[in-house]
């Protein structure tokens, strides 16, 4: 992955500023995604699993799927309202 150096364990890595930025941004993106997953999970579990059965029903599954779509859509509406344009 790192084409600018050949790091060995314990040695200092030659990382360019751009590589550092990329790594930091990847890490942040991962954490945002994690937070988003946890939020959506909470909301959609609440909306769709009202009476937990012995297995996940077809209607529960499709409810969850629709719920995720709607939550992403809601995020877009809020993002656009607050900050305009299209936010990632």
């Amino acid at each position: 992955m790192d084409s600018f150096s050949s790091p060995s364990p314990g040695s200092s890595q030659q990382m360019s500023a751009q590589e550092l930025k990329n790594k930091l941004q990847s890490q942040l993106a991962l954490e945002y995604a994690q937070q988003f997953l946890e939020t959506v999970r909470g909301k959609c579990f609440e909306k769709c699993i009202t009476k937990p059965g012995s297995s996940l029903s077809g209607s529960e599954s499709s409810c969850i799927s629709r719920c995720v779509d709607r939550y992403i859509e809601a995020t877009g509406i809020i993002s656009k309202t607050l900050f305009g344009g299209s936010q990632h």
Partner: protein
């Protein structure tokens, strides 16, 4: 890489931008969470009703105004 490379003007600019991006992300997340609870009732459908969509948009604006109002009030105390 030595530590001074983490502290260049370029990196400082980068940190500042990412910090702003984080604030935006967190604000959108928080407002979406609150407004979802207020505006999306019942089982999610294949799309939002126009009522739900405008509720979400209104909710976000009201949130901003609420924030401003509270800030002003606390400042005046």
């Amino acid at each position: 890489m030595d530590l001074s490379e983490l502290n260049t003007p370029e990196m400082q600019r980068f940190y500042s931008e990412e910090q702003q991006r984080a604030v935006v992300t967190e604000t959108v997340a928080k407002v979406t969470s609150e407004c979802w609870d207020k505006c999306v009732s019942g089982t999610p459908g294949n799309k939002f009703s126009s009522g739900e969509a405008s509720c979400l948009s209104n909710c976000a604006q009201r949130f901003v105004e609420t924030n401003m109002l509270i800030w002003k009030k606390l400042q005046s105390m």
